[in-house]
């Protein structure tokens, strides 16, 4: 149901010790959004993502999932909320002692009561979705960086999560695969109603798939724009336009 606030970030400040990476972030992700977190290298995109998915406690502020205050509910509730998102890490983060099929199957084994044969079918389908059909028995060490990344996405999608958080999906992918991934993200949103949060600085993706976005600034250590990226590219803050035009504006 587009329109209901799904994730609400309120006065979020993230820091490593005394070093404040980003402060006072406020934004809302609606259900069915493809929400882009953009910004230059090292501005704190990954750090923000870690706070969103419950890996790193923010220094101040919090994140609400449909009204539930993630950082102030019990550990059990946190676990329940965590199960609603799938996360793809920047480097894939595949478990190196498991084959691709086992990587994708593990969440299914843990959280569903499906028969092994069903799980195998689902795993093959997920791998086919990310363009890795036939690679079931490969181990992560036998794959290229881009392939590992796509396998990481297949694992993040294993349980059909409500919210899919992906960190730099298309960096390291060839143009065809990057395009395929963008299409896949749109289809997941349209077909399954998944809300997708994408950390990226890939201009083509930002402009073609983003329905909403924030821009994190590395100098002022806070966000300086939110809104539809296409509009931001036309009429947004000067810094954002500069970023979205590769420094030409």
């Amino acid at each position: 149901m587009p329109g209901t606030p799904h994730i609400e970030v309120s006065n979020l400040t993230m820091a490593y010790g005394d070093f404040v990476v980003q402060h006072d972030l406020n934004f809302v992700v609606q259900k069915g959004d493809i929400f882009i977190i953009m910004g230059g290298n090292g501005c704190g995109k990954t750090t923000l993502m870690r706070a969103l998915v419950g890996l790193q406690k923010p220094a101040a502020g919090t994140v609400y999932y449909e009204g539930e205050d993630f950082w102030n509910v019990s550990a059990n509730d946190q676990e329940r909320l965590k199960r609603r998102f799938g996360v793809m890490f920047q480097g894939g983060a595949l478990w190196s002692s498991l084959s691709l099929a086992e990587n994708v199957a593990l969440p299914l084994h843990e959280y569903t009561c499906l028969a092994q044969a069903r799980i195998d079918e689902i795993v093959s389908f997920k791998l086919a979705l990310v363009g890795l059909a036939g690679f079931e028995d490969f181990y992560p060490a036998e794959l290229s960086g881009g392939m590992r990344k796509r396998a990481g996405l297949a694992r993040a999608m294993a349980l059909d999560p409500d919210i899919l958080v992906v960190d730099e999906p298309s960096s390291g992918l060839d143009p065809l695969n990057a395009r395929h991934l963008d299409d896949l993200i749109v289809e997941l949103r349209d077909g399954l109603g998944t809300t997708i949060v994408v950390v990226t600085h890939e201009l083509a993706s930002i402009l073609s798939i983003g329905s909403n976005s924030i821009y994190l600034d590395a100098e002022t250590h806070t966000m300086i724009a939110t809104g539809n990226p296409q509009q931001a590219a036309q009429t947004g803050d000067a810094k954002v336009r500069h970023f979205l035009s590769r420094g030409e504006l």
């Binding site: 069903r118 079918e121 059909a133 992560p140 060490a141 395929h180």
Partner: protein, 388 residues
């Protein structure tokens, strides 16, 4: 039940999925999907349709999903099985009856950019072939070890001629890691070993009424053999494993390749400081271990077996000769070199996964202890022959 002319129905409870089939024309079949097709329940395999789909005269497949309440990958996996079978059996599939999202995602799964898979993994091998492979791997290990030994020797040569590049600070870091930080465990173990030696000696020497020779036994035993052996084994477990894990992780992160491409010898930069640190520190630790062991012997003799403090001390001095120290120190140095060699060897030849790092660490300890034992026997025989 949906539809009136169902030929057959596989339906679970009302909350669940429903699947029906209906003939359409002479050569057509319509599949009617309804209910919830979600992963939180047990879903059917596409093979429940295999008999119908396998009919010889089947040419067209249609879908209807008017009463589909909810779906996710569960449905997609089911349909993708059906589509794959149809594609292989010359059945034309009309997906228009499916929700648009389902159609798009099914297309995505079949439309990924081309991948070529040449590096197929070997299939699971039987016991005999695994034994064979393990044996071959083991034998292949020897040239690898010799090759690494050669590289290290060359690197030593560069060090002696002042051409090896490594950072002094690395060396001192390793020295600290191997020396001061290992003191506690070396103290505990040598003390207990000294105590064991004293008891062992006391029991045997009482038979001949010469308990004072406990001092000789403990002193010579600790200084010549046991101090170095225990230290070597402790360092193999502590430091050899750490070396393998550090270098192995660097291998996984391609850090060692980065050295190579820069033309910096990873052996000079990483292996040399570690070997030097152990060759320097293990003899010192050996000396310390011997001292702790003798102290333990003294305490046991004094408190348990009523041997005088001064008596034990002079007997120890009388027993110890400088050659015993030389033997102990040289053994310590050699064991240190063996441990460092094994640790660095396994680390540098580590595979590219977390599992491989674990194997490298294990194998470093095993190889280290094996090499220590071999060198211990060799050196004992040589020193005996030389009469030292």
């Amino acid at each position: 039940m949906i539809g009136t002319q169902t030929s057959d129905a596989y339906a679970s409870d009302l909350q669940g999925w429903q699947l029906e089939k209906q003939l359409k024309g002479d050569q057509g079949l319509e599949i009617i999907l309804a209910g919830r097709w979600c992963l939180d329940q047990a879903l059917p395999s596409w093979e429940v349709l295999k008999t119908e789909l396998g009919r010889n005269d089947l040419r067209h497949l249609y879908f209807r999903a008017d009463h589909l309440a909810a779906w996710d990958t569960g449905l997609l996996a089911f349909l993708s099985g059906v589509l794959k079978f149809s594609a292989g059996h010359d059945i034309a599939v009309d997906c228009n009856g499916l929700p648009a999202g389902v159609q798009h995602l099914l297309n995505m799964a079949s439309a990924g950019p081309e991948q070529n898979i040449d590096a197929r993994r070997q299939s699971k091998a039987g016991m005999f072939s695994r034994i064979g492979v393990a044996t071959i791997d083991f034998c292949r290990g020897f040239p690898e070890m010799l090759h690494f030994l050669g590289e290290v020797t060359l690197s030593m040569g560069r060090l002696l001629t002042g051409r090896a590049q490594f950072r002094r600070s690395d060396f001192w870091l390793e020295v600290e890691e191997v020396g001061p930080r290992a003191l506690v465990i070396v103290t505990v173990i040598s003390f207990l070993v000294g105590l064991i030696l004293a008891y062992l000696g006391a029991d045997q020497l009482r038979l001949v009424g010469a308990q004072i020779f406990i001092a000789d036994l403990v002193a010579i035993g600790m200084v010549r053999e046991v101090g170095a052996l225990m230290t070597g084994i402790i360092i193999a477990g502590r430091t050899g494993a750490a070396f393998a894990a550090q270098l192995g992780t660097m291998q996984v992160n391609e850090e060692i390749d980065a050295f190579r491409t820069l033309g910096i010898s990873a052996i000079d930069f990483l292996v040399l400081p570690r070997i030097l640190a152990l060759v320097l520190m293990v003899p010192l630790l050996t000396l310390y271990a011997a001292f702790v062991g003798m102290t333990a012997g003294l305490l046991v003799s004094y408190f348990i077996f009523d041997i005088g403090f001064f008596e034990y001390y002079t007997e120890t001095l009388r027993a110890l000769e400088i050659k015993h120290f030389m033997v102990g120190l040289s053994k310590g140095g050699v064991y240190g070199a063996m441990v460092a060699y094994a640790g660095c060897l396994r680390g540098m030849h580590c595979g590219r996964s977390a599992e491989a790092v674990g194997e490298a660490a294990t194998s470093a300890v095993v190889t280290g202890i094996l090499l220590i034992t071999i060198m211990a026997s060799l050196m004992t025989i040589i020193f005996y022959r030389l009469g030292i």
